[in-house]
């Protein structure tokens, strides 16, 4: 008797072990005023901060060096003098110590909000705030993980302070929330701990039950054995060329050099933001030419697709004035910067044209965050007036995805950024840990949108490719070829795996796979349809 829970897998190895449920901590008491007086509350707060600091020091002492540094940084925030001063002000107003510290942390969280660089620090601060309040209330918050044996630990999601407490007995991890880029996923990937995240219902598995953590199958099998684990797909070496061209995604000279050592044909996405993050003023056209020329010269042979600047208030470029926005993902970003920074985008294209002439490379340019056909034609006219480029746009907004036939005669190519297209199609913030399942590229809503983009682009005589994260998954890349895309672009570490998959199938096999995936009704079914088709090769 076994039941299956689905989620998103992290890693390639499976594991079977008993479940250890991490109990959610008891609720913290509501914030209240105190009759003990500010001095008494102040000494309660000092004692609690010292106790939490001692806990952190104890954890740091038994941790490796990197983890110990995390604890040291947390202690610094915990003992921050201004934080204590703010809490003191609230205690002077009559609030009890726990409430005063919680309020002070909220005020700092508010001051730091809206800046991507501080998001994790805000989470750390709130975690510390809980620990201090729990210490005052006498509530225990440690994970209390077993030190020996072998367990699959199950919890809602794990914070940096939590994952730092993982003992060698943690051989597998399941979380109810979190996506493929959550802290838990990143830590498990780096420590090679098999994990499945975003597993609804995992908190109901009884402690002590044996489970199979099957990351390749994106599932947890209650009562399953290792023999049930999904095997990573392996593709026979046919010696053929891939069904469609496989390009590489790059963002720096180092990436370009590494990509050139793979089988990539050209570059499908050159992210240019990185070149500008270290510049304090707008670089001259000559300087941009030199920066681009060195990267173009190093890139793998084939066309190089360059995306014009994709910055926004969450990814700011120092010398462009980007006011803070309520919703940066929906704000002035990508091509929309042309409203205030036309000369910057023109200079970028001029620098690229000069680098193209200097290196003799074939350059395709594309603009991100295009929402209307007017924007596409405006960008195409601008790019063609500056250089001899093939000109295209990114398809990331649902509005332009609905208008592909109207791009006929306007652009030479379209490239789909599946990460942002998913975010906007599903109205699901990429930064929100509770929404990971909606951002799974195997969602039928995304796949059917991709199918329409590929077939309409083909009918309009427009070259189409996919450069989002999803194209780095070999099985998904075969699906994209089957849907009719002309090329895919993968992260450099995945180029050869994607090439191997696309060399193992012919056109009719890829089309059959796409047909069976399009008939499926959920993210689990689409993926298993693809895996079944590939396993049957």
């Amino acid at each position: 008797m076994s039941s299956v829970l689905s989620g998103m897998g992290v890693g390639l190895n499976a594991v079977v072990a008993e479940v250890f449920q991490v109990a959610p901590a008891a609720a913290l008491p509501a914030w209240a005023k105190s009759s003990a007086g500010a001095d008494a509350e102040s000494s309660v707060l000092k004692t609690a901060i010292a106790a939490v600091a001692a806990d952190l020091a104890r954890l740091a002492a038994s941790a490796d060096e990197t983890t110990a540094e995390i604890f040291e940084a947390l202690t610094f925030l915990l003992e921050d003098e201004s934080l204590f001063d703010m809490a003191t002000a609230h205690m002077d107003e009559g609030w009890a110590a726990g409430a005063a510290y919680g309020m002070a942390v909220n005020e700092f969280a508010e001051m730091l909000a809206g800046d991507a660089a501080f998001e994790e620090r805000i989470a750390d601060l709130q975690d510390l705030s809980k620990r201090v309040q729990a210490s005052i209330a006498g509530i225990h918050v440690g994970l209390d993980l077993p030190k020996s044996g072998a367990y699959v630990i199950v919890g809602e999601d794990f914070s940096p302070a939590d994952t730092a407490q993982f003992t060698p007995a943690v051989v597998g991890v399941i979380t109810v929330k979190g996506g493929p880029t959550s802290h838990t996923a990143i830590i498990c990937r780096s420590r090679s701990i098999p994990a499945v995240v975003s597993v609804a219902g995992a908190d109901e598995i009884a402690a002590g039950t044996s489970v199979l953590v099957d990351p390749v199958g994106d599932r947890v099998v209650v009562g399953g054995s290792l023999a049930d684990a999904t095997k990573p797909l392996e593709f026979a070496n046919t010696g053929r060329d891939p069904l469609v061209e496989v390009r590489a995604n790059i963002g720096s000279l180092e990436d370009a050099e590494a990509a050139a050592k793979t089988g990539a044909v050209g570059v499908g996405l050159f992210r240019t933001e990185l070149l500008y993050l270290n510049e304090s003023s707008q670089p001259s056209v000559e300087r941009q030419r030199d920066l681009y020329a060195s990267i173009l010269a190093a890139a793998p042979a084939g066309p190089i697709t360059v995306r014009t600047i994709d910055a926004g208030s969450d990814k700011p470029v120092p010398f462009l004035n980007m006011p803070e926005e309520e919703n940066p993902a929906l704000g002035v970003r990508g091509y929309r910067l042309i409203q205030d920074h036309r000369s910057f985008i023109e200079d970028q294209l001029k620098g690229l044209e000069a680098a193209r002439v200097a290196t003799g490379r074939e350059i395709w340019v594309m603009a991100p965050m295009i929402a209307t056909v007017q924007e596409a034609s405006e960008f195409a006219a601008l790019a063609r007036s500056i250089g001899s480029f093939k000109v295209g746009i990114m398809v990331e907004t649902p509005s332009i995805a609905a208008l592909v036939p109207d791009l006929e005669g306007i652009v030479d190519f379209v490239s789909v950024g599946t990460n942002d297209l998913s975010q906007y199609l599903f109205a699901a913030d990429r930064m929100n840990p509770s929404l990971g399942a909606l951002l799974n590229p195997w969602q039928p809503g995304l796949i059917r949108t991709l199918e329409r983009i590929a077939s309409q682009a083909k009918a309009a005589g427009i070259y189409s490719s996919v450069c989002g994260e999803s194209a780095s998954d070999p099985a998904f890349a075969v699906l994209l070829a089957g849907l009719g895309f002309s090329s895919v672009s993968a992260s450099r570490s995945q180029v050869d795996a994607v090439r191997a998959a696309l060399s193992a199938v012919d056109e009719s096999q890829a089309a059959a796979l796409a047909k069976s995936v399009l008939a499926a009704k959920s993210a689990e079914e689409t993926k298993s349809a693809a895996v079944a088709a590939l396993s049957a090769l």
């Binding site: 940084a73 610094f76 921050d80 700092f108 730091l112 620090r121 993050l277 270290n278 304090s280």
Partner: protein, 89 residues
């Protein structure tokens, strides 16, 4: 108390984030002198709180004013050189 004023440049690609802020506070606390940091023309903050420094939301490419309250100019210059080092990322 005399104070020496300097300017430093934020080169770190993430700006003045948690790590350099903590490094600066550690240095300042260890030195036993008062150090104020901020943007030119704005109120400077005491560099004894990493959170206050982070809350300035200083970005890459900004120039900062550092005011060091000590009679010892050589000591001040030494401190500011280390602050600049922390801001290189």
């Amino acid at each position: 108390m005399s104070a020496f004023e300097f300017t430093v440049n934020v080169i770190d690609p993430i700006g003045l984030h948690a790590r350099p802020a903590s490094q600066i506070v550690k240095l300042v606390k260890g030195s036993g002198v008062n150090v104020l940091i901020g943007r030119e023309g704005e109120n400077l903050v005491k560099a004894n709180s990493p959170l206050m420094l982070m809350a300035l939301k200083i970005k890459t490419g900004e120039t900062l004013k550092v005011s060091i309250e000590t009679p010892d100019e050589a000591h001040a210059a030494e401190l500011v050189a280390q602050v600049q080092e922390f801001l290189k990322g």
